[in-house]
Subunit: 551 residues, 2 copies
Amino acid sequence: MNQRIDHTLRGSWTSAPAAEAHLPPHALRWLRSRTGLGTTITPEAPGSVLAVPDSRLGSTVRTALAEVVGEAHVLVDRDARLGRAGGLSYVDLMRRRGAGEPDVPDAVVLPADPEQVQRVLEVCVEHDIAVVPFGGGTSVVGGVNALRGNKNAVISLDLVHLDQLVSVDPVSHTAVFRAGVRAPDAERLLAAHGFTLGHFPQSFERATLGGFAVTRSSGQASAGYGRFEEMVVGVRMATPQGEMRLGGVPASAAGPDLKRLVIGSEGLFGVVTELTLRVRSAPRVKHYEGFILDGWDRGADAVRELAQARALADVTRLSDVDETEVSFELSGGWKVKVLKAYLRARGVVEPCMLVLGWETGSPRELATRRTAALRRLRRFRPVALGRALGETWRKGRFNGPRQRDVLLDAGVCVETLETAATWSDLTALRTAVRGALIESLGTHGSSPVVMCHISHAYETGASLYFTTLTPRSADDPLGQWQRAKVAACEAIVRHSGTISHHHAVGVDHAPWLGAEIGDLGLEVLRAVKQRLDPTGVLNPGKLVGDAKPLP
Amino acid sequence: MNQRIDHTLRGSWTSAPAAEAHLPPHALRWLRSRTGLGTTITPEAPGSVLAVPDSRLGSTVRTALAEVVGEAHVLVDRDARLGRAGGLSYVDLMRRRGAGEPDVPDAVVLPADPEQVQRVLEVCVEHDIAVVPFGGGTSVVGGVNALRGNKNAVISLDLVHLDQLVSVDPVSHTAVFRAGVRAPDAERLLAAHGFTLGHFPQSFERATLGGFAVTRSSGQASAGYGRFEEMVVGVRMATPQGEMRLGGVPASAAGPDLKRLVIGSEGLFGVVTELTLRVRSAPRVKHYEGFILDGWDRGADAVRELAQARALADVTRLSDVDETEVSFELSGGWKVKVLKAYLRARGVVEPCMLVLGWETGSPRELATRRTAALRRLRRFRPVALGRALGETWRKGRFNGPRQRDVLLDAGVCVETLETAATWSDLTALRTAVRGALIESLGTHGSSPVVMCHISHAYETGASLYFTTLTPRSADDPLGQWQRAKVAACEAIVRHSGTISHHHAVGVDHAPWLGAEIGDLGLEVLRAVKQRLDPTGVLNPGKLVGDAKPLP
């Protein structure tokens, strides 16, 4: 079923068609003049130049693992191991470019089904080997970095062969998938039955359903289709203490919803092997369009109005002035010049771009929902820019990772981070995080670009998604970002934001989880882990990891 | 704030205006001819005739508790204790009528605020006293029965004085409430700010917000306003290991959602003292109407269509043929005769009543939503009965408990139970549970009435709510029901239903929880309890209680 198995996955977005993987020259020129970026281009070095330590996996364990999955599915070669050394954070990508050492697993194990996953866990417990579950490898918070913890060796448990659609129930609108199914494959498989999941995070092209579940993923159309956690009807998880099967009914009051303890558990309690997901009829009509609102506060008020009237479009995304400006500059050309002149003529001082996208079953449904939303928008005096802008956004919506590779080549320190807060706290939170990033990244004498958008809106609040671009420090490219990240996280915690709205915790956010759920909350997570994984083989150092904040 | 504090709460629905607390004579006549019910009327005996054991609370503990809450708020008198002996299940009510022994607490403690709750827990841990948190006392699954477990004494911790609205955030649409606020008070307090919770379970008149949270409550309008668990933005819980504060942001990926572990925990992990809830603008337009569909399967298909098209009314409720017939018979009179003739003339063979209710912000919103729903309904050939039937249902929607008291007086064994399953499993589940109830209750030579409705619909499935009426066994009124309940629970578990969709687990469903979440799921709950309540003072015997299924 999966013809794209790539046992030597690399960190960069290698599946990108070359045509899309570049920045237009005018965009680079603008970035140079805006940030003080130099002109050196340093493409990613081939993996072969990186120092990779030898595998520490003993032959006894290797034999035991091979007995479960077959010899061909225990990989210890350099490329296979290096390919699962980490995810896709800036730090991960820079490590693959030779800055700092990647966390390379001692072996990659490829089980064929849930039963093999269960047995692999048993072997790892018996031999006291750390296990890092690996799906699409798209974590940007260190969630799949192959840390050993207190174990002598660590394997990456790659679920690439758990790629089946097990069954579809067209009456109940549910589908059972193995956890290793990638999002595009899931959509393709469901499309044959007339269904969709509607889950489109930026990691869509690579990420897996199991990964979505254990990280509490949110997609670009989650206002319409719901966050991934809301789609999970049932879950099957292999743990060192045996298999758990939870859920299956549409709703229940049979004690706490233990599914919700599995969702977001980031591989610490077990390995999710199968998911029963709520599916929806595939939309027949897709309609995206763009608007400009004058100023962040007005824009945020407009989005809040839509959310609280339950009139959100399926995609509802508001960019701040800086992000809107960058969008314009990256597009360039005479059309943007005309647009800017038009906006000035309309009296718009601080253009903020709003993209609304509907995916509906019929033109009538689209008309009804769109009319309701536009009626609500009216008093915020939006300037309608039509479908072209919306479609441009839609077509480019998975391009971020590709563009990042190109920006890295060009010497940019480029990264994103995100949070969420109540509407009351949102403006102060944005100001604080933005300020922390600019101050920290600006210390190198350059002028960082810090842009922000609301990616997800709810009745009680919204998420904030920040992207930073700044010339990379030659001496300390990792420390440069890590200091900025710490400053941003401290600002988030101080201003009642969540440490992550949809990127999860991993290694990077673990030092701040206690600020959010309290010491007792951490203790509850540890108690559950202790019960399910008493020897602590599963994903050491993540989520409740004992990592301390960086200095 | 709370002027209705009744320290001698009784089991029956005493706040009912007398006018509503009766059945019309023709209804009773019909019931007698239908079920073989006799003519004896036995009103509830006064509480004073019941044997209540002396309080076992030692004077040292009593003094320690009085030091926390004040002497006037440690009650050991007979009536106060008897008033917290249980909830409102048939068994609870019959115990108060002298059949079997109520589980009477040794004292009732009335803390004034979250800090006092915390300190009461500390006293109880120090003296090894069991604690049963008590809100509205409306549990129908034994959730508030004052069981001692392995402790020498048990107190009922009544949160009646935690009755404050702490704050409202009109920008973020959230409100902070103390956990003991009763639902009608919450609505009244919010109405002053133009908001509503929109949570209307049948227990509405008495139940508390804290109770809604710890039992995963669902209300009659939950299709529109969401289940209670979906309204909880933040929670504050006192535990023997200290206070937990969770949530606050609209959405997060910061590890598993621990709020969801508190929600549904039924007082086993701690005592919920405060809730931050999502509120909505109070509806300006309410519109309820009734329809008849021909046959259960067609009715269920129609509701499924509405759910999967996301066109459900805020209240969507489908009665089966038996429940529809009972509704008609209880109403009686010439109008029902005309209605029946009309339905026959329309060719309706098996009338199933569908109530749809919308609560919207404007007539336009009502028109849009109603039109969308009716368009979907059309192919199921509904017979529209207009607003009168819908309004009749709405006005009587909290009358169930009152009618039950009258039915008990008349010698009826009357009880309800509920479950939920996917659409694919729903018909077989309904047939099985119905069959089990009829077979079990029919063994006494009588003809039980077993009726059912879909109370809540979801994209992937629906709930089923059963009501049974049968002449009460004079010899063994408790055993008669308990055997039927066991038969129904076994049928539910065998047919992929949840053991509870919204009544929770308590004592009554504990024997079947393992069938739903597995032994490992039970172990996870026990691990969390062990961490938060290591000496096991909190609500012994509930949820993961070691109760075995009745023989």
